[in-house]
């Protein structure tokens, strides 16, 4: 670590890890409910479990992104964060809003709009919180010595993500309009501006880990985020096929969303080529695993499994079935969960001064969680395809079909157990690192050996 204020990132990462455990716990509740084991129905009904599962997911990813920004921006801008105290206030208020929302879901305090369940009064607190965060980041960039492409792309992603939250706060009497603008948040986040955040973090990690020239990496970063927006903005149309708007979206959405995998393919090639080109081999193997992993798994989960159901002819049958859940899991995991876990794996040794670079536990964490998640994806996929054929093609009753596919949820829960074992190992590593300390600071008075390492980190 080069700047004292980067330490605040640690606490965002810690909050992130806490929310992740909550997310997984509620995931199991739903997995069992799909198997017919719904003993918690009276206390935590399925809709409560689901709102907690998906909102905790979004919150831990956002907390991870914010931590990443607080770590990356000082280093890229060569300037301490302008107001560290305010950053801690922002952390605590973010955690509070999150807790109120998650608790509220147990008491019927929510809005039934998928992914946007946070009630509108709380939305305003989110807005204030995010503005504070952005203020700190943007002011640090303004005061800083340098404004690199990496930091600009990351910041642009964060600013647009905040702006796009707003259309989700408007009330519509008409369900079609409600859905239309809900996608401006959900789709334009994950298939638009969040890819800028991912790309920015990925570029930062590749610069540090591979030692490849910044100019080369940042040039390709522009190409990737260019592909993202060119395909992703009009690709929103793949959610407009069957919600009560015109057929023009079948064509526009079909064509442009089918191009979206290119951006993820770009991301994967980018990481692999830069890794091959890099001469310096950074000792942090675990960070390297997660960095290459996120680039590759996002291409499979978002790119290929997205493509699998994005054409209107296919989506007519798969729309709103477990096929969507299959894709949702591997896409969120590969693109956004793994990039957060990558930046944490990279930053922790630098924040705490403990060089736990290549532990067996960390390696198991990586492989168990990834193989477990692939298994879960397969389970959802088999259940989903079976559902599509029985329910949509043959016209068998929803409930009858669900009974037929119950067994796949046994597979799901088994693979989820493997996945969770991996995550628990990751959490143990996280705790073993201990707290961030100023002793981990690399200042200019350090000796040569350390200075050499510093250019690399």
């Amino acid at each position: 670590m080069k700047y004292k204020s980067q330490k605040v990132a640690y606490w965002f990462f810690a909050l992130s890890m806490l929310l992740l455990t909550i997310q997984l716990t509620y995931g199991f509740i739903m997995g069992f409910a799909h198997m017919g084991l719904d003993g918690l129905h009276q206390v935590i009904a399925f809709n409560t479990a689901r709102a907690v599962h998906t909102n905790a997911l979004v919150m831990w990813l956002l907390s991870g992104f914010m931590g990443a920004a607080y770590y990356i921006i000082p280093e890229e801008a060569e300037h301490e964060l302008v107001n560290v105290k305010l950053a801690y206030v922002q952390l605590i208020s973010f955690a509070l809003v999150g807790v109120i929302a998650l608790v509220g879901y147990h008491f019927n305090y929510w809005e039934g709009r998928k992914f946007l369940e946070i009630p509108r009064p709380l939305d305003w607190l989110v807005v204030v919180n995010v503005l504070t965060f952005l203020g700190i980041i943007v002011m640090t960039l303004v005061r800083g010595k340098k404004r690199t492409t990496t930091s600009l792309v990351l910041t642009m992603g964060l600013v647009f993500a905040a702006l796009l939250y707003l259309p989700g706060m408007i009330w519509f009497d008409n369900q079609t309009l409600d859905s239309f603008f809900r996608w401006w948040v959900v789709h334009l986040w994950v298939e638009g501006v969040w890819e800028l955040i991912m790309g920015g973090i990925l570029a930062f990690l590749l610069i540090k880990i591979t030692g490849v020239d910044r100019e080369v990496i940042e040039k390709w970063l522009y190409v990737i985020v260019g592909l993202t927006f060119i395909s992703g903005i009009l690709g929103t149309g793949h959610h407009y096929y069957y919600i009560g708007v015109g057929k023009v979206w079948l064509i526009v959405g079909g064509i442009f969303s089918a191009l979206e995998p290119l951006a993820f393919l770009g991301m994967a090639l980018f990481a692999i080529v830069m890794y091959r080109r890099g001469e310096k081999k950074h000792p942090n193997k675990l960070a390297l695993n997660w960095t290459l992993g996120t680039a590759i798994v996002s291409f499979i989960g978002a790119g290929l499994l997205g493509l699998a159901h994005t054409l209107p002819q296919v989506n007519l049958y798969t729309h709103g079935t477990l096929v969507t859940a299959m894709h949702g899991h591997l896409a969120f995991w590969g693109a956004y969960a793994m990039i957060v876990l990558a930046v944490i794996a990279y930053a922790m040794p630098n924040l705490t001064g403990r060089k736990l670079f290549d532990t067996a536990r960390g390696t198991y964490a990586f492989w168990l969680s990834n193989i477990g998640m692939l298994g879960m994806t397969a389970a959802f996929g088999v259940a989903g395809v079976a559902q599509v054929y029985m329910e949509r093609k043959m016209g068998i009753e929803f409930g009858e079909v669900q009974k037929e596919i119950q067994v796949h949820f046994l597979v799901l829960v088994t693979c989820a157990t493997m996945f969770t074992t991996g995550i628990i190992l990751y959490l143990i590593e996280f705790v073993k690192f201990g707290l961030p300390t100023d002793e981990a600071l690399e200042n200019q008075y350090n000796n040569h050996a350390k200075a050499n390492l510093a250019t690399n980190q």
């Binding site: 009497d173 040039k219 985020v225 260019g226 592909l227 903005i233 069957y242 709103g320 969507t324």
Partner: protein
């Protein structure tokens, strides 16, 4: 080879062009398609009250509507066509968990009044033109029974 500033213009240019196209198409959809396909003239206060109940109870946390939501319970856009209003009213007003095939719904026990609001909402949305979704099952049974 591509230079960094060319790459930057690819990004900026591509973004601006597709963004403008998206805004124009969206605007066109809202002005042209929504009035024709969703019948906003039928959005009575009762339908809107039903939508409020639909949201404040997070029905979408188990069901899908317009194909969006959760995969724990049936798709409801055309439920009034499929089951008829009296059946739906019985489900909504039931004081014990409705569970025709073992899977439980929350026992809301809505008043008659609230149940009718929700039914009005579901009736309205059932008339939306969804470009062919949900499909009618296309399967002509030739099951081998020997």
């Amino acid at each position: 080879m591509l230079s960094k500033s060319q790459a930057k213009w690819f990004f900026l240019g591509g973004t601006i062009v597709t963004f403008l196209a998206f805004i124009i198409l969206s605007w066109w959809s809202l002005v042209q398609d929504v009035p024709k396909q969703t019948h906003p003239e039928n959005l009575t206060p009762q339908v809107v009250a039903g939508k409020h109940l639909w949201e404040s109870n997070n029905c979408m946390g188990c069901h899908t509507i317009l194909g969006e939501g959760a995969y724990y319970a049936p798709e409801l856009t055309k439920v009034i066509d499929r089951r008829g209003a009296p059946y739906v009213k019985a489900v909504l007003t039931s004081k014990s968990a409705w569970q025709p095939r073992g899977r439980k719904m929350v026992a809301y026990g809505f008043s008659d009044h609230d149940a009718e609001d929700i039914i009005a909402f579901l009736t309205w949305i059932g008339k939306t033109d969804l470009n062919g979704f949900p499909t009618k099952p296309s399967y002509k049974s030739t099951v081998n029974t020997n």
